[in-house]
């Protein structure tokens, strides 16, 4: 198999085309899977109701039906809106999501671009979505949208910091910024000389893991951090004026981003695509890697959505003080301890 793949050396334009196609197929697929499994089925189960039943076997095609419904809706821009920016905003948010997937490794070779500064790149492009949200809030010419957009901007900036600090702990421990490097470092590690399952960083970076998940929740503007889109007070905030396809893009981007962040959490803390007892350069990972990563992503996503369905939402100022007074100091302490132990041990 290695020989076959080595012999397959496509020209640059073909390679690029394939990668673009892969990303543009993967993003909506993952959003569909998460929306289907968690938003419909797990949520219904937790809230003791049935969820969709009619579309397809056990309601599995409900999201497709909803997607088609959105496509049929008229594309309306409000009269007072800044039309160009209004129409561009969802695309900026979606672009941020697409760029996230570029660096997410599903195995040693199954990655669109294996960047040396992978995690740095991921954190950088994920914050581009703030721009889209702000654009949407401002260009809608709606007071609810404006309040929502500004809340979102404040929140996303505040939670960027604990997320970065939580990640730095992992980076210090692995000694690399490359996502594949972090996976390999965990696969090669050993727990007190016993290398049965490698060394997933959740064992040492559990504080970082908790902070990272909280920050992810805030980046996704999901409860308990959904003040920017609080439907019971500012009626979905910056999304309020969007209809049809553009609203669908926001929806897709939210769930695809949830999947991507869950994937990054799996890579950073749970050992990514690697399997114990199997050498990282094995060809089996072409098949096994995506499956293992997918399983871990679903695990992390379950935690994210479980919290989403359980908690009420923070108020905007409580949300800010939670980031600045609790998460960031905690992340800094975690960072110092990690750095000291790295030097000492």
């Amino acid at each position: 198999m290695t020989l076959v793949l080595a012999a397959f050396d496509p020209p640059y334009w073909l390679e690029t085309l394939v990668k673009v196609l892969v990303i543009s197929v993967v993003v909506p697929t993952t959003a569909l899977i998460l929306g289907m499994v968690f938003l419909f089925k797990v949520m219904s189960w937790m809230q003791s109701r049935l969820g969709p039943q009619e579309a397809g076997p056990r309601g599995t095609l409900q999201l497709l039906a909803d997607g088609v419904k959105f496509l049929q809706k008229e594309d309306i821009a409000p009269a007072g809106a800044d039309r160009v920016i209004f129409k561009m905003a969802p695309l900026v948010v979606l672009m941020s999501t697409l760029l996230l997937y570029v660096a997410l490794p599903a195995s040693l070779h199954l990655v669109v671009a294996d960047l040396d500064v992978g995690i740095f790149y991921v954190l950088a492009v994920s914050s581009v979505s703030v721009l889209g949200v702000l654009m949407a809030g401002w260009a809608s010419a709606n007071k609810y949208a404006l309040v929502g957009g500004l809340r979102a901007a404040g929140q996303l900036i505040a939670y960027e910091l604990p997320m970065v600090l939580a990640v730095i702990g992992v980076v210090i421990q692995a000694g690399t910024l490359s996502l594949n490097g972090i996976v390999l470092a965990q696969a090669d590690g050993s727990i007190f000389g016993w290398d049965g399952i490698g060394f997933p960083y959740i064992l040492t970076q559990f504080v970082g893991f908790a902070i990272f998940l909280a920050a992810v929740q805030a980046e996704l503007t999901q409860p308990p951090f959904d003040m920017p889109v609080a439907e019971s007070e500012i009626v979905s905030g910056y999304q309020v004026e969007y209809t049809g396809f553009r609203f669908l893009i926001f929806f897709l981007a939210e769930f695809a981003t949830a999947f991507a962040f869950a994937g990054i959490a799996a890579v950073l803390f749970l050992g990514g695509w690697a399997v114990p007892w199997l050498d990282a350069s094995s060809d089996w990972y072409y098949v096994l890697g995506p499956i293992v990563l997918f399983a871990k992503v679903m695990l992390v996503a379950f935690i994210i959505f479980w919290v989403r369905f359980t908690y009420p939402r923070f108020r905007e100022d409580q949300l800010q003080s939670f980031a600045w007074k609790v998460l960031i100091p905690l992340a800094l302490v975690n960072l110092v301890v990690t750095a000291v132990l790295k030097v000492v041990v």
């Binding site: 809230q47 003791s48 109701r49 609080a230 007070e233 369905f309 908690y311 009420p312 939402r313 923070f314």
Partner: protein
């Protein structure tokens, strides 16, 4: 802005002045946010004109009237049994409770009293409509603060009560079951045991809400110390029900001024108050009230006497000349009917005192200086039904 009258013109001017007001600290301008009439937090069509300085509410003024149905006028052209059907729709979540004070007022004028069995069943249904109403409030309040699951649990468990109300009266939401001099029908077979079981489920639901909402740190941080209404303010705005008791005023019509025709003397229960007067206190008092109501129902079910459910009243009801005011402790607060009769088939005039109208009138006082998210907390915890405001 198209102004239709001097009053509107004045309002528009005031709004513009507020918007142009400059915050000297941050050099920011104010903003007028129109919450409602179509807004999820106003469950119905209440409109609130909120003037904001950043996220802070400078003033919030409720504008009722978008769902005014003219019930007081309509009662003047309907006979007493017909009015009973109409007033079911005032507080639509606890419909049976709307009928009772009106029927009691008519009974007072006619000088009839329902037989003991009818009084017991009437009280049971009254308390069950309280449970149906308030259990939904607790879930809905969770929903408004972002905890979706509580809302679905409330809808699920309210069903047990609604099923029992339907089994007894034939109507889930609008029973129209109370009659002058008693009740339409006796209870169906097996109803008492089923209702016991339903009340046990409701008590379990209260415990679940205690754990899911009241014990949640985020819920507490969103409600504790928010929207504090001191006792004197609560009294001067005419608040009633749980809103008043949460401010520390120990007043419950069921215990203190129960009109004849109800069976509250027969049972042993507690009136809960809360010293804080904040959103948390109001929610807590309501949760306790639901528990107490379930206990009242269970006690009454055990004590229910035999006998007829209808006193002897003429087939065509003519209420003798006179005036009567009867007030009861409804799920939302004190609800009363002032009935003026000229000895005719229809009342001369009926004045309806509904709780929500007074409860919501405190909003401008309590919302001043709050944040926009707090406005939702406060509005939710004051708990109004729009039909109860506008009638």
């Amino acid at each position: 802005m198209t102004a239709t009258s001097d009053r509107d013109q004045l309002d528009a001017l005031v709004a513009r002045a507020h918007d142009n007001r400059v915050n000297l600290d941050f050099e920011t301008e104010g903003m007028t946010l129109n919450i409602g009439p179509q807004h999820p937090a106003t469950h119905g069509t209440l409109r609130i004109v909120a003037r904001l300085d950043g996220e802070e509410v400078v003033s919030a003024e409720p504008v009722p009237g978008y769902m005014h149905r003219g019930y007081e006028k309509l009662t003047e052209v309907r006979s007493y049994p017909q009015i009973n059907t109409l007033i079911n729709r005032i507080d639509w979540l606890g419909s049976f409770a709307n009928e009772v004070p009106f029927i009691l007022a008519a009974e007072k004028l006619m000088g009839v009293e329902a037989p003991p069995r009818a009084q017991f069943i009437r009280t049971i249904l009254f308390e069950m409509s309280r449970i149906a109403n308030i259990s939904l409030f607790i879930g809905d309040y969770g929903l408004q603060l972002g905890g979706m699951t509580a809302g679905f649990y409330a809808f699920r468990d309210r069903e047990h009560v609604l099923n029992q109300i339907e089994a007894a009266t034939g109507g889930r939401f609008h029973p129209n079951f109370d009659r002058i001099g008693g009740l339409k029908d006796d209870l169906p077979k097996g109803w008492i045991a089923d209702t016991h079981a339903a009340m046990d489920k409701l008590l379990a639901f209260c415990d679940e809400m205690d754990a899911l909402l009241m014990g949640n740190e985020i819920f507490q941080s969103r409600t504790r110390g928010i929207g504090v209404i001191p006792a004197d303010i609560a009294l001067s705005y005419g608040l009633s029900g749980a809103n008043l008791r949460a401010s520390g005023v120990d007043w419950d019509i069921r215990r203190d001024a129960c009109p004849p025709g109800m069976a509250y003397d027969e049972v042993d229960w507690t009136v809960w108050t809360h010293p804080d007067g904040d959103c948390y206190g109001r929610t807590w008092v309501r949760l306790q009230e639901t528990r107490e109501a379930a206990k009242i129902v269970k006690q009454l079910l055990d004590k229910i006497p035999g006998g007829p459910v209808m006193a002897k009243v003429p087939r065509i009801i003519k209420v003798p000349e006179g005036e009567a005011y009867v007030e009861t402790e409804n799920p939302l607060g004190a609800m009363g009917y002032y009935v003026v009769s000229k000895g005719d088939l229809v009342p001369f005039r009926v004045k309806i005192r509904s709780a929500s109208f007074n409860n919501i009138s405190v909003l401008p006082w309590v919302a001043r200086g709050a944040y926009v998210p707090d406005l939702v907390s406060i509005l939710g915890s004051l708990y109004f039904i729009l039909g109860d405001i506008d009638r």
